[in-house]
Symmetry: C2
Subunit: 204 residues, 2 copies
């Protein structure tokens, strides 16, 4: 049994974090199936006994990686979405995302989307965890849309829940197609169409 997180010393927590960061990077690059515990040990320069001090098995590591990637993605999303009050703010958030994807030629897609695609049908624990992560992301988007509606930029009766879910789908599909094409155009087209739709919903 690995040591519970709460019982780890500050140094122990730092080592655990180093392992998770190394595992995340490898799993994002190669996928979960192609990443072995040995690869991660080597990348994090830790011994086998250290590894099992922190994690019971690969599935345990995968859960930690999902949590880590969720934090990374959501803090990036919060950065852009927390201050959203208008459709113009949404356009700025779009620019930040499209620029980021353009800067890496679409490589990597979405870390959560990639894990979801690989694990949803074969790992029920990972699937449930990823579903929760996407629900959190959807909530962040919904909060932004509610702020826009509160400001009066959306017509009364707009289906904010449906549009929040559709926006998350647009992001996921856009990121995946940008990864395949090595080009930010699909992400831009997907999000632009959603924003255009929202801005028309606001016209009286």
């Amino acid at each position: 049994m690995p040591v519970a997180y709460e019982k780890l010393t500050a140094k122990g927590r730092a080592t655990r974090e180093r392992i998770v960061a190394a595992a995340s990077e490898l799993m994002l690059q190669r996928g979960v199936a192609r990443t072995t515990i040995e690869d991660i040990q080597e990348a994090a320069t830790i011994s086998t006994s250290q590894m099992y001090h922190y994690f019971a098995d690969k599935k345990d590591l995968v859960s930690a990686v999902i949590d880590y990637q969720t934090d990374q993605v959501l803090s990036f999303q919060h950065l852009g979405l927390d201050r959203i009050e208008s459709i113009d703010d949404l356009r700025r958030w779009r620019d930040v995302m499209v620029d980021a994807v353009h800067g890496r030629n679409g490589l990597g897609g979405c870390p959560l989307g990639s894990m979801a695609s690989e694990l949803s049908d074969c790992d029920p624990v990972a699937r449930a965890r990823l579903a929760r992560s996407f629900a959190q992301w959807e909530n962040v988007i919904r909060d932004g849309l509610v702020a826009i509606a509160t400001r009066g930029e959306l017509a009364a009766g707009t289906d904010i829940d449906g549009i929040a879910l559709a926006m998350l789908a647009a992001l996921q599909g856009g990121l995946l197609l940008s990864q395949v094409r090595r080009d930010a155009a699909p992400l831009a087209a997907a999000v632009d169409t959603m924003i255009e739709h929202l801005s028309r919903l606001g016209m009286r």
Copy 2:
């Protein structure tokens, strides 16, 4: 060197097709990395020498699987999209897709999207092949939108290319989120929002 497809007898082509169908099913279930040549041989009940009679290596099989899945997906898409002339037709196409995904609880996601997510960053040949498949799919959608515009249901100046790409992204993101959630709602929300957008674009 495997035998060129053109030189295969009818029986040889049938065997090759059986191998590709078995490989497609396994790769869709488990992912490419988790599927070995031996698994495929067993599933298709063929010998090692037969396998190498048809395919040089696993990468060669992956290419054949991408072509096979592209044919499957596009013939399903053509079925719904070829007769599209109006936004109402688009709604019927949406129902067929959402029903199909609902019927399998989202399982499987999109075969092309799953391969794209797994292979884009680590297999340049597969990536290029998948990019071509998605371009074909995008064209099928664009043709449907052009037919709708020709009928006069879209305002002049509508960015049909951008919307076709956004619709493909909506499908991909919707299918992925439906796979994670085991629920067709994300696909429905994504496509409904796109169709709603199109129908508003047609209002004068």
